[in-house]
């Protein structure tokens, strides 16, 4: 009976934990362990065209230019994980630009409610954490080592372009492509 009581208590507390971690995951960042499922909902869609950001990796040896596929470079990690890492290390200031219009609206409400200081400290700093110089240096070395291994080249630099592609919604054909930021490593 006593042990049943503790289980019933667990069953009353568990939904509260679930709701709490959902709220935190929605506003700040998905925690781990997490019982949330992926929602795939970050795209703005007006039915005519859709905009997506991606990365171009250009390998430069002397004056020669070559590209490398990020999906192949990331393997066995997912392209999403490495894209996020690239974003955090080199384009952290752009992070909020990736939100869709509704997300932007929600966050502007939250920001006006809790103030800029707390918004930066408790939401942005957790959602898009700042990498220290050592982490940035090591990540850069890791990228270059991978490129070197894949292409079998040495003494090169890599240009990472953050590209915004606008595609036609129906056909998927590219309407516009613009480099919105770039970094040379």
């Amino acid at each position: 009976m006593k042990s049943n009581r503790s289980k019933i208590t667990l069953f009353y507390l568990f939904p509260l934990f679930l709701i709490g971690h959902l709220a935190y995951g929605l506003i700040v960042r998905e925690p781990y362990p997490s019982l949330m499922m992926p929602a795939f909902s970050r795209i703005d869609n007006d039915g005519k065209e859709y905009k997506l950001t991606d990365f171009n990796l250009i390998v430069q040896v002397d004056s020669k230019m070559d590209t490398i596929n990020l999906k192949n470079l990331a393997y066995p990690f997912s392209k999403i994980a490495i894209s996020r890492a690239i974003d955090l290390v080199y384009f952290r200031k752009d992070s909020e630009k990736n939100y869709n219009s509704l997300q932007k609206k929600y966050y502007s409400i939250i920001k006006s409610f809790i103030g800029e200081k707390y918004y930066s400290k408790y939401i942005i700093a957790v959602r898009h954490p700042k990498m220290n110089e050592n982490q940035k240096r090591q990540f850069t070395l890791w990228i270059k080592k991978r490129v070197s291994d894949k292409k079998n080249i040495y003494g090169f630099s890599v240009i990472i372009e953050k590209v915004l592609t606008t595609r036609d919604f129906k056909s998927g054909s590219i309407k516009r492509k613009e480099v919105i930021n770039q970094v040379k490593i």
Binding site: N4, I8, L10, F11, F14, P15, L18, H21, L22, Y24, G25, R29, E30, P31, Y32, P33, S34, L35, M36, M37, P38, A39, F40, S41, R42, I43, N45, D46, G47, K48, Y50, L52, D54, N69, K71, P76, F77, S78, K79, A81, I82, R84, A85, L88, N100, L102, Q103, V126, M131, N134, Q135, R137, Q138, F139, W142, T165, R167, F169, K170, G172
Partner: protein, 479 residues
């Protein structure tokens, strides 16, 4: 107080099953994990990990300042290797289940420190929670070594996991809903598909076909189905048969996602199986008992079986990633076709309840009402397994007021009005069991509509002077 009673009843009784059924689930679950999902091995992944990059999600990762050395992962890989095998054969099942699940959860935390969570947690959480259920009491080495006869099994972990699964799907649906998934002028499924196709370069299976598919209705249905299905998963959590129906929908959903977007959620299949455990047929349990009994009688045979399993397990561990993928794809395809078959051809199985296998069902109906007689004939034609027996209300009650509802008597328990109607159609052949989904409509609304029809049934459909007389071949179905 009533809600508390209902909640308590659900926690401890919703998934009542036997220790044998739980034992069979343990074997099926670990078998799927080992042979289709793969025992997680972390050391080979950590070697490729971006150096110095440690950006863990909140909660777990905050306890660590960096990723542990590779030696830690090599040691835990060996423990997992032993732990999964011991859980499969049922040796120190509880201990190895808890250890394997805990290590997997912790180590995946390090893998996710690049910021992308792959949501396999539910699988390890199932392994963890089910270790407390007593799933190692039968069909296990434990049952030979220790006295496990009087140990009580626990089914509350299954209820907790159903709540977790329902909630997990709900989160996905809720986020879609509040981020304008249904509000856009065009399909969000289409938008997400195109993003996946072009940016993530997921262009295998049927992706090319769907890229050219401009059939607007298909994509719109995709939008609505996704939201209703994902949010509905939490709504049905307290209705076990509907919850099982949703696990089948989930397999169908994952199959479509795999074919369209090449995203695999195969690991959840082993979790879905859990909620079907109480329905494992008696014949299968008896057959398994028989096989296990023969093994325990002959120690040499038992040892050689374990040895063969160990060799197969070891060989399986040496397979490359490509072979894993083939296994996974076969599993998804098989599960997808099976769920399609059940949903279209055998919906009666979809809405089964565990008590259906043992109970007797008597339908009591108004013998002079044309509508009721027509309905009884309709039931007889679609009740191939002869679940139901029939009796007229006139035989049981003298008061005409009692004739305003059909009555379903199951082992002494009585359902009436719309609940009785829905419980009856749930067991019929054909697509009729889908009407059972109306059980989600609040009872007062259902019964209100039922009462309107019941009050006007003589007026609309007519009445007879005498009660229906069964034909000779149906006589044994009438009481």
């Amino acid at each position: 107080m009533r809600l508390h009673k209902f909640y308590e009843e659900w926690i401890f009784n919703a998934y009542l099953c036997t220790s044998f059924q739980l034992g069979l689930f343990r074997i099926a679950f670990t078998f799927m994990l080992i042979f289709f999902f793969g025992v997680p091995q972390f050391s080979n992944k950590i070697i490729d990990f971006p150096d110095g990059f440690f950006n863990p999600p909140p909660l777990f990762g905050q306890f660590f300042s960096d990723i542990p050395p590779i030696l830690y992962f090599k040691i835990t890989d060996v423990i997992l290797f032993i732990g999964f095998f011991c859980t499969l054969i049922g040796l120190l099942t509880k201990v190895f289940g808890i250890i394997s699940a805990s290590i997997s959860i912790i180590n995946f935390g390090f893998i996710f420190s690049t910021g992308k969570i792959d949501h396999s947690f539910l699988v390890w959480f199932t392994l963890f929670m089910m270790s407390f259920s007593g799933w190692g009491k039968k069909f296990s080495i434990d049952s030979i070594i220790f006295n496990t006869k009087n140990i009580k099994i626990q089914v509350w972990p299954i209820s907790l996991l159903s709540l977790s699964l329902g909630f997990a799907f709900f989160t996905a649906g809720l986020i879609k809903l509040i981020s304008g998934w249904l509000g856009s002028s065009d399909s969000m499924v289409r938008a997400f598909f195109l993003r996946n196709y072009y940016i993530q370069q997921k262009q295998d299976y049927m992706a090319k076909f769907f890229e050219n598919c401009n059939f607007q209705l298909f994509w719109e249905i995709g939008d609505w189905f996704t939201i209703l299905f994902e949010i509905g998963f939490l709504v049905v959590v307290f209705q076990t048969s509907l919850f099982r129906f949703f696990t089948l929908l989930a397999i169908l959903f994952h199959g479509m996602i795999m074919l369209m977007m090449n995203i695999s959620f195969h690991s959840f299949f082993s979790v879905y199986l859990l909620f079907w455990t109480p329905l494992i047929p008696k014949q299968i349990v008896i057959r398994a008992q028989d096989i296990f009994h023969k093994l325990t009688q002959n120690k040499l045979r038992l040892l050689s079986t374990i040895l063969i399993l160990w060799i197969v397990y070891f060989v399986r561990m040496t397979f490359s990633e490509n072979v894993y993928t083939i296994f996974k794809d076969i599993l998804i395809l098989f599960a997808f076709i099976l769920s399609l078959y059940l949903l279209i051809i055998k919906p009666k199985i979809v809405f089964l309840k565990s008590e259906d296998q043992t109970e007797t069902n008597i339908i009591k109906f108004d013998g002079v009402c044309n509508l009721c007689n027509g309905f009884v004939q309709f039931v007889i034609n679609r009740d191939k397994n002869a679940y139901f027996k029939f009796s007229t209300l006139q035989d049981s009650y003298d008061d005409k007021k009692e004739y305003q509802t059909i009555i379903l008597e199951k082992n002494g328990a009585i359902s009436e009005k719309s609940t009785a109607f829905l419980e009856i159609v749930r067991k019929l052949n054909g697509l009729w069991p889908y009407l059972y989904l109306f059980i989600l409509t609040p009872k007062p609304i259902r019964n209100f509509i039922y009462s309107i029809i019941a009050k006007n049934r003589y007026h609309w459909f007519g009445e007879r002077d005498v009660c229906m007389m069964p034909t000779p071949e149906l006589k044994n179905r009438f009481i």
